[in-house]
Amino acid sequence: MPLVGQRVPDDGGCSLVASLDNVRNLSTVLKAIHFRDHATCFATKNGIKVTVENAKCVQANAFIQAGIFQEFKVQEEPVTFRINLTVLLDCLSIFGSSPTPGNLTALRMCYQGYGCPLMLFLEEGGVVTVCKINTQEPEETLDFDFCSTNVINKIILQSEGLREAFSELDMTSEVLQITMSPEKPYFRLSTFGNAGSSHLDYPKDSDLMESFNCNETQVNRYKISLLKPSTKALVLSCKVSIRTDNRGFLSLQYMIRNEDGQICFVEYYCCPDEEVPDSES
């Protein structure tokens, strides 16, 4: 192990200790939810959940399960703190963010408890950087109460099929309208911008469609500015599950495969924008 012999504080006093051979397995997933500066972290023995919210309307969660780490210990459950995600990501990529072949950055992370900084020990090629990031009072996060029993429509798509659609979204449109229906047009993304409207239709028998489970027609609108940041997760993911519940709340779950072939999940929740007028093209 690269960090053997380094002066690392005793594990005994830490409420969270985690180490990782390849820091990119953590930083990549965190980048997928990096659309605001601050994040709240929750650690349990199952792993770490990092939450970012915006406008009380959208929430993104990244799950890094314990199995991703080579070492993962939590003393008291749950460990909760708020941290500047931008700073955390800067520190994690302190040896550079693009991978150099055969040269991995290893990480050891310690958090001694409430009021203490998060300590990062990063090592690459025998060089060790120690970062201390102040933690903040954890904030209460939103509970979207998104329950799978209330899910009306669910689609699993290969991310490839949505990637381009999201990167080319007409940002002059205020909303992204999502239509999910057991009938035509099955799955439709619409924008209504300055230049006119555009619709993107996916047939249910498309090869991109891994599963199609729609029970009733739902047309919901979401603020495009809130959904656009999910493009970051989309770009990294291989599959995406799109679900809406009986209230029109949207859940986007992204499956991200890391460099070691392990799977992580990033999830976005978004509340609908408004009631949709009936006669809309």
Partner: protein, 390 residues
């Protein structure tokens, strides 16, 4: 109007839109019997471009709904370009593209049928418009160059991306010379790097011009057409005349043709004398002293000779067939003394908001703004200018 483009032609269409987008902010789409025409003109009306896609270019082409007059429309270039933004995507995922214009829905509908059954539908809002038609006639140009676009594309490659204008001329030994154009401003000594490319006449498929002939035109628009022509592996013809007269850049194959008409700098290009000797330009003031007394210098001050006359009225065949030069006598000032030019220039300088003096453009605006130069009232160009907003 309804047309269907399939396979590789979708990318060709996309490329054409990209090269048009280098010129104007609005796209004029006009379904004609002999094909679909896409046209644009830049805001200062010194550059005009048009592509005509023959009916055979399309899998299906219907200029008008049977029993109805063909519609034409004007749309924002930006919104049309956004449909074709990613050329890689067009090539990789788009299988066919259907464009339809329907008077009832007042939308231009562009549908892209992509891989995996995905379908993108863009309903673009448009405006009715008059036909945009530049009056130009390649046959009236005495000089002609024709070469593979690749050759010219490689020749302009070394020029800095920020370079505004380039001089094209015939030098010693009938070599074709492309040279970066230097503005005759005081600070030009600071950025005094001249790039020059010289191409032997044997590389040209046609070369009809004598030594010493030269014109200066905008590089950006030229590059736009070149990149299209290169990708389609076509030859480019350049028809030109004296400095100040528009130059016509044309490409043609069996399925499409394209014409770009660019204004050229109206002063006698100083470089033309230098083309024999690759030396830096002479100091500016001296050159001007030489150029002003030339009798034809003032003739080129006439709006129609260096600006492309836009015809806006739909039915008036008379003005369409009228050669652009025929308007000149009326517009020409009574005498072309040196004093009057000074006066015109003085007047120009008092007009607020006039762009900084670059010969090319100041002459251009001068003609519009200085009343002395347009005693006959608005020319066709001005008419289109005033109503072509929004």
């Amino acid at each position: 109007m309804k047309c269907l483009v399939t396979g590789g032609n979708v990318k060709v269409l996309g490329k054409a839109v990209h090269s048009l987008s280098r010129i104007g902010d609005e796209l004029y789409l006009e379904p004609l019997e002999d094909g679909l025409s896409l046209r644009t003109v830049n805001s200062s009306r010194s550059a005009y471009a048009c592509f005509l896609f023959a009916p055979l270019f399309f899998q299906l082409y219907q200029a008008a709904t049977p029993g109805q007059d063909p519609l034409r429309c004007k749309i924002l270039m930006k919104s049309f370009l956004s449909v074709f933004r990613s050329l890689v995507m067009l090539e990789k995922t788009v299988e066919k593209c259907c464009i339809s214009l329907n008077g009832r829905s007042s939308r231009l509908v562009v549908q892209l049928h992509c891989k995996y059954g995905v379908r993108k539908t863009h309903n673009l809002s448009f405006q009715d418009c008059e036909s945009l038609q530049a009056v130009f006639d390649p046959a009236s140009c005495p000089y002609l160059l024709r070469a593979p676009a690749k050759l010219l594309g490689e020749a302009v490659l070394p020029f800095p991306p920020a370079l505004a204008e380039v001089t094209l001329g015939i030098g010693h030994g009938r070599r074709v010379i492309l040279r970066s154009y230097q503005e005759e401003e005081a600070d030009s000594t600071i950025k005094a790097m001249v790039t020059e490319m010289s191409i032997g006449q044997e590389d040209f498929q046609q070369l009809q011009a004598e030594e010493g002939v030269a014109i200066t035109f905008c590089l950006k628009e030229f590059r736009g057409l070149l990149s299209f022509a290169e990708s389609a592996n076509l030859s480019l013809s350049i028809h030109f005349d004296a400095p100040g007269r528009p130059a016509i850049f044309a490409i043609k194959d069996s399925l499409l043709d394209g014409h770009f008409v660019l204004a050229t700098l109206s002063e006698p290009t100083p470089n033309s004398q230098d083309l024999h000797f690759p030396e830096p330009c002479q100091p500016a003031p001296q050159r001007q002293a030489h150029s002003t007394p030339q009798p034809d210098d003032f003739a080129s001050d006439d709006i129609d000779s260096y600006m492309i006359a836009m015809e806006t009225t739909v039915g008036s065949e008379s003005s369409r067939t009228l050669p652009s030069g025929s308007l000149s006598p009326g517009l020409q000032p009574p005498c072309s003394s040196e004093g009057e030019e000074d006066e015109a220039e003085a007047e120009l300088s008092t007009v607020p908001g006039t762009p900084p003096p670059k010969k090319f453009r100041s002459l251009f605006f001068g003609s519009i703004l200085a009343p002395a130069h347009s005693p006959l009232g608005p020319s066709p160009v001005l008419a289109e200018d005033s109503e072509g907003e929004g």
